[in-house]
Point group: C2
DNA sequence: CCGATTCATCGAAGAATGTCAATGCGTTCA
DNA sequence: TGAACGCATTGACATTCTTCGATGAATCGG
């Protein structure tokens, strides 16, 4: 098991703003930014209410963790969820959950 | 969605030593410590190679995150996985993964 | 071209985290 | 009762993280 890589993914998930950004990417339709082509940095920034550099920093961390893909098109950078890091996380959680006492599985 | 609680769980998961401790709890048989009654702090400490206070600190964080239960029996504190936090984490991952593009072309 | 726009990077300040040595607390055993 | 044991807490320190303002790089419109 790749503890270092898995811990890095969880560390990226362990921030409220990043978690909110991921949830936003999961539920946003394409008609957000002025372009209507996807979710760009300014959309995430407006949703989070953080400064632009901070938003950019968080998105970079998510990309590095393999949770998000970034695609630069013209002036805008569009983000989308990536299954890479999410799979890593789910595998680890699943392995632990399989060994956990599933008594009150609520 | 409870972003704060979920982020707290992920933050607890985002450390190599804590991840290793969880994996240890998931795979350890009861014949570890001198007592043979379960996994105690000294077992985790020996496995991690950290100091006793640091180990205790990590285990406390895991308990607070709902990932581990602690039971004090005599002189020893026995730990076990808890489904509580793990379910929170899996639900969040599942929601994101359901919205992620699941074409594993790469 | 020139200005405006979108975003990334840099530098710094404050907060949070990981770590250990020293100490305290409860339990067990002689 | 006293000594040893297992563990939690405290205090301190170094590292990392979060955040922002200022600045730089690339792109589009006029």
């Amino acid at each position: 098991m790749d503890f270092d890589g898995t811990a890095a993914v969880f560390r990226a998930l362990g921030d409220v703003h990043r978690l909110r950004a991921l949830h936003f990417l999961a539920t946003a339709d394409a008609t957000c930014c002025s372009t209507g082509q996807g979710v760009c940095t300014c959309d995430v920034q407006a949703m989070l209410g953080l400064s632009q550099p901070t938003t950019s920093h968080h998105m970079k961390l998510l990309v590095e963790a393999g949770l998000v893909t970034a695609q630069k098109r013209g002036r805008w950078t569009y983000y989308a969820l990536s299954a890479h890091g999410l799979h890593l996380a789910r595998t680890a959680i699943g392995a632990l959950l399989a060994a956990a006492p599933h008594r009150d599985a609520a």
